[in-house]
Symmetry: C2
Subunit: 154 residues, 2 copies
């Protein structure tokens, strides 16, 4: 039985929160979310992903897949293995300035599992709703299931 991904997005708020428990130690889960090698294996909804990440404060990241998927940003904080904070922008809207801020937190649970909490805040409710309506939910749940499989190989 797989763990459940919870997506919380209160109506009229520019914030979205995603929570998921993974059956693996924190250092492994953190690695899954922050290394090019691991991200290439699960991040993209398509077969080919181009992942670039300079994992340090002030470092830039850029993930693309196919013609439609293009995200990039800069890293504000990189505190392995407990937290990283980054900006995020979707590069295919034709208009810059619609940026979001992501905080990923990884908490150790008593049974050797790890709880990941991603809080994303947008510059407007409209920007948050645009992201929600992109169909990201299906992709995220699928990605987390891929991560479950990957974690068994580490």
């Amino acid at each position: 039985m797989s763990n459940k991904t919870t997506i919380t997005a209160e109506r009229g708020q520019p914030i979205m929160q995603i929570e998921r428990i993974f059956d693996a130690p924190r250092k492994d889960v953190f690695e899954i979310f922050t290394t090019q090698e691991m991200l290439e294996k699960w991040w993209s909804p398509y077969d080919q992903a181009y992942i670039e990440i300079d994992a340090r404060e002030g470092g830039r990241w850029h993930f693309t897949a196919g013609k439609e998927v293009n995200f990039y940003g800069v890293i504000h904080e990189f505190s392995a293995p407990e937290r990283f904070v980054q900006t995020e922008e979707f590069g295919n809207t034709g208009e810059r300035g619609h940026v979001a801020l992501d905080r990923y937190e990884f908490a150790e649970l008593p049974d050797g599992k790890t709880k990941m909490t991603l809080t994303t805040t947008f510059l407007s409710v409209a920007d948050r709703d645009f992201a929600l309506q992109s169909g990201m939910e299906v992709g995220i749940i699928k990605s987390h299931e891929t991560i479950d499989t990957l974690l068994k190989t580490i």
Copy 2:
């Protein structure tokens, strides 16, 4: 008669918006907000400010004054003279992870004036309210009046 600074912070939302018209061309106003030389002249509420800014995408910034004022972040977008987007963290809370995202926009008005709009979004309503309750309002209005004086010297 001086221009008015408008601060909007809707109850229960993690967003804050600050608007101000300056009687100067956009390139001058942008310079005031993004160069070390200018920031040193108006940013700090105290006499001495330490300003460090690497004004480019991926660049870091760090402003301190006295023992109490300590802010830093990274620049996500730097599109002179119309917009820049950066992260912002207050360094003296004793706890990391309370980060905000700032988008500064500079719009040219028909009469050679410039409208600055700063939109800041926080990761929680509590973080936004903490910033509001810090007494920043008085400091911001005073700073904008100093900018008015500075702009006459450019």
